[in-house]
Symmetry: C2
């Protein structure tokens, strides 16, 4: 496999995908066209508008972007594609659409055969075992929470440390993930913004400028640094 | 109906349910025993421990608390009870358990017949039309997102305004609710901590010290103040 699962598409104050540019040139080496999966629709943006945003970045590295929604036969489009990018947004909407159109496992098999894949945020969630560690609001009801399992754990993108100045009693992210662990025997990678998971063949590492917080059933959470194997 | 749906059980720096004490004395007037529904299990706490926390408050207003989990026949226990309280925690866990044990509509019918109900946080989410505006992590997969519809809208508890100082690209609460509105034709009440919804008969008002933010399909969000009818 040859994949990147990133916490976010955009760093605070940065441009779309800019901080990943050098990595993406490596990921998609030799490829001149990718399929963009726009189903997560952040803020309800249209598929066309979302695809145009992806295109505005990829043209800077000479890669053409086609939206998956543009194809009549989407399974065939996935099978024929050379590489993929799934953008962020609402994970429930993304997973529901992929299951309803029976595309989740078509995509999985193509990525497992070695075609490059980039996921950001919701697009990274679907690279995990299931979507049960998303931060998103359940605005639609998917037929299943199962995902592609491109890595043998779950991802919590946009991982956020507790803000000691916040006078608020909603659960912290850490509390939420610990609640997940009471119900699931699955490791969770708390991926701070600026970090990404890189899988090349069977080697899975965490990359980026921040430490990464690991949650495992039965253990206290701990931190690993850039380049650590997962 | 005679219900309170509160944003939170506990104000920042306050004691459990303390800020609602006078309201709860009114809500449960003439009642000496209630059933507590502990299924949301915040932080994975046991049903017994969670029920003990509820009890520690209710004994200060001379009300006995029995955990629903203590009963062999839970449907019968609900039918026989005089009043209810559902505590906060994980809404997915709460809704899954209520549907799996076929208790959601038994509870609904009893509350609709006039028995007092208090919900906090997840316990308020289940008073709405469905749980699609919860903030919680989908740690388990419920058989349905449908809830009791004690009020003709959805609730977003712990409603939180954007923090302009946060250098983070995760979605704001407002963005999440607007995404919900792209997929659902249902009003959402953004209930800040300190506020609650009060329904007496057919009159539904918002109460508490904060303004309340209302999200409706096709309209810009707007604010209403204490005592406004919903």
């Amino acid at each position: 496999m040859n994949i990147i699962l990133a916490s976010t598409s955009t760093l605070f104050g940065g441009e779309y995908l800019e901080y990943l540019k050098e990595e993406l040139i490596q990921l998609y080496k030799g490829i001149d066209e990718i399929i963009f999966i726009p189903f997560a629709r952040p803020g309800g943006i249209s598929y066309d508008d979302y695809t145009a945003i992806a295109n505005s970045f990829f043209k800077t590295i000479n890669i053409k972007v086609k939206g998956l929604h543009e194809f009549e036969n989407k399974k065939e489009a996935i099978d024929n594609a050379k590489a993929y990018f799934t953008g962020g947004g609402n994970t429930f909407l993304l997973v529901k659409t992929l299951h309803d159109e029976e595309l989740m496992y078509v995509l999985k098999h193509n990525i497992e055969s070695g075609k490059p894949y980039l996921g950001c945020s919701a697009g990274s969630n679907i690279g995990g075992r299931n979507m049960k560690t998303t931060n998103d609001m359940p605005i639609v009801y998917p037929s299943s929470f199962d995902c592609m399992e491109l890595v043998p754990f779950n991802i919590n993108p946009h991982y956020l440390d507790q803000n000691p100045n916040l006078k608020h009693n909603g659960e912290t992210r850490e509390t939420r993930i610990k609640e997940f662990l009471t119900q699931n025997d699955i490791k969770v990678v708390g991926l701070r913004e600026g970090n990404w998971i890189r899988r090349v063949g069977n080697r899975i590492t965490v990359e980026g400028s921040e430490w990464t917080r690991i949650f495992e059933p039965g253990n206290e959470p701990y931190e690993i640094n850039e380049g650590s194997e997962l």
